[in-house]
């Protein structure tokens, strides 16, 4: 049974159409990646699901409930969390306050301050520092921790490894199985195709706002993906 699926999802920025009828499904416990070139519509898809971009209600289904027209805060309370592109921490909040604000939707579950610090021990010593004083990698950990604090049932990672050093990317992917457990699903935007296929169960390749290829990550054909990537 799918937890989350989009049905013919369209998306517009002003008079510009970015998505043309997307059908994407994420099941319970599944991790799914979205790949595609710049401007393919990956971030738009994420924003639409998270409620930052309003859609007709039926286009996004969450556990058989139509949620396309809900506001982002209402979507968050349903258990859909997002780690936005470029971290987007709150600069006037300390590291710990950033984490605490993640718990705003007051959902219960295993993730608390302590468990986030256990997942990313290096954050502990920085807990009272302003979030802007951290390195990019540490900031990404805070952003992930912040999303986890809402004890989500699905996490949307937009550009999970963007601008991060290889060693940090490795740390984050190492933590991923820890994050995606006990019924939590993940939808991941990743520009590194190899990593996307390596760490997720299934993938969707987008081009110009349409799904051009999808399937199981394990059986993916590199050549087909490259074709789909450029939409030729």
């Amino acid at each position: 049974m799918p937890m989350l699926n989009t049905q013919g999802l369209t998306g517009h920025y002003g008079d510009f159409q970015a998505l043309f009828g997307l059908d994407i499904t994420v099941g319970k416990n599944e991790s799914v990646s979205l790949i595609g070139a710049n401007g393919a519509g990956k971030t738009t898809t994420m924003r639409a699901i998270a409620g930052l971009l309003s859609s007709p209600a039926h286009m996004i289904q969450w556990k058989e409930q139509s949620i396309g027209n809900l506001r982002a805060d209402q979507v968050a309370k349903l258990g859909i969390a997002m780690v936005p592109e470029g971290r987007q921490l709150f600069p006037s909040l300390s590291v710990e306050e950033n984490l605490k604000i993640g718990a705003q939707s007051a959902r219960s579950g295993p993730w608390k301050l302590n468990s986030v610090y256990e997942l990313f021990p290096m954050l502990t010593e920085h807990r009272h520092k302003p979030s802007t004083s951290l390195s990019g990698g540490q900031q990404q950990m805070v952003a992930i921790g912040r999303a986890l604090m809402s004890n989500p049932e699905i996490i949307l990672f937009d550009e999970i490894s963007l601008g991060l050093a290889p060693i940090v990317i490795k740390q984050i992917y190492t933590a991923l199985p820890e994050i995606v457990r006990d019924g939590t699903s993940a939808l991941i935007v990743e520009q590194d195709i190899k990593k996307a296929l390596q760490y997720t169960d299934r993938f969707y390749c987008l081009s110009e706002g349409r799904v051009t290829l999808n399937g199981d990550s394990a059986n993916a054909d590199q050549h087909d993906i490259v074709q789909a990537y450029f939409g030729n």
Partner: protein, 287 residues
């Protein structure tokens, strides 16, 4: 001795100006909104105080218990129903809508209360004073100053130590991302305006106890508050208190030299700060 007295009185009136400024500073901090109707809302609160004290015969300070919640509700409704529709990158809509509100409130007050100056009667408190050496300190101005410190201290605590303060700061940093955390922007903004108008209510009652007011008194209050904010430095609440004090002292000194120069001296102090330190005396340090 005269001069010391003038400075002390100026400092104390500065507390009232800081109260005018605190609500203005607060909503600017949370949602980058400058409320042109701020002064008129202070006067509205004073008139509300007048109605409450006159109809049930209570002391103006007791009337705070009624006026503060009413103004808070007005603030929430105003923000939620009207001002939230104007929030965006363009500064013109909020500016013009609050400007329109200012005209509406002034004329509505004129219609209901007439143009006659009014005052809130606070009984013996009006004349009570403490003597320190040759300086007489009025109990009412002293109370106002203490309340101003308490209000600013309270706001500071609320902003930096509570969950709602965290929500204010997060929404101020990035409203979209705050929304992703489950914070409803419209509600958070409503709460911020409710808080701002609670402070406005306190400012209005003290204004009414301290001086006569009429429906046209609002704009001058807005300007005093604005000057205190800019002198003190944007986004710095304690700086706002110092800004209010500087304004009060400047006005006192101006009035001492020539009664016609009271307000002029305050404005000149503001323009001087603007010319020398455009970011104010104590700008907030960015992280």
């Amino acid at each position: 001795m005269d001069w010391i007295n003038i400075i002390v009185q100026g400092i104390l009136i500065g507390g009232l100006y800081a109260l005018f400024a605190a609500g203005l500073s607060l909503i600017f901090g949370v949602m980058r909104l400058v409320n042109i109707a701020h002064g008129d809302l202070i006067v509205l609160a004073a008139f509300l105080g007048l109605t409450v004290t006159a109809s049930i015969g209570i002391h103006p300070l007791t009337a705070l218990l009624i006026v503060v919640p009413i103004m808070a509700m007005v603030g929430y409704a105003l923000q939620y129903l009207l001002l939230n529709r104007t929030m965006g990158d363009d500064i013109l809509p909020p500016l013009l809508v609050t400007f329109g509100l200012s005209v509406i409130i002034q004329n509505a007050l004129l219609e209901v209360y007439s143009a006659d100056p009014q005052k809130l009667q606070s009984g013996p408190l009006e004349t009570a004073s403490i003597s320190i050496g040759s300086i007489n300190i009025g109990v009412l101005p002293l109370l106002m100053f203490v309340v101003a410190i308490a209000v600013i201290g309270g706001l500071q605590w609320l902003f930096y130590k509570t969950a709602i303060g965290r929500a204010f700061r997060a929404t101020s940093d990035n409203a979209d991302i705050a929304q992703l955390m489950g914070l409803n922007k419209a509600h958070v903004f409503g709460l911020a305006m409710a808080l701002s108008l609670s402070v406005v209510a306190i400012a209005g009652i003290f204004l009414g106890m301290r001086t006569a007011f009429d429906p046209a008194s609002g704009p001058a209050r807005l300007i005093f508050g604005f000057e205190a904010v800019i002198i003190g430095g944007l986004g710095n609440l304690w700086g706002t208190l110092i800004g209010g004090v500087i304004l009060g002292v400047a006005q006192g000194i101006g009035a001492k030299i020539n009664p016609g120069w009271q307000l002029l001296a305050g404005h000149c102090a503001f323009l001087l700060v603007l010319a020398i330190r455009p970011k104010g005396l104590f700008p907030r340090v960015e992280h």
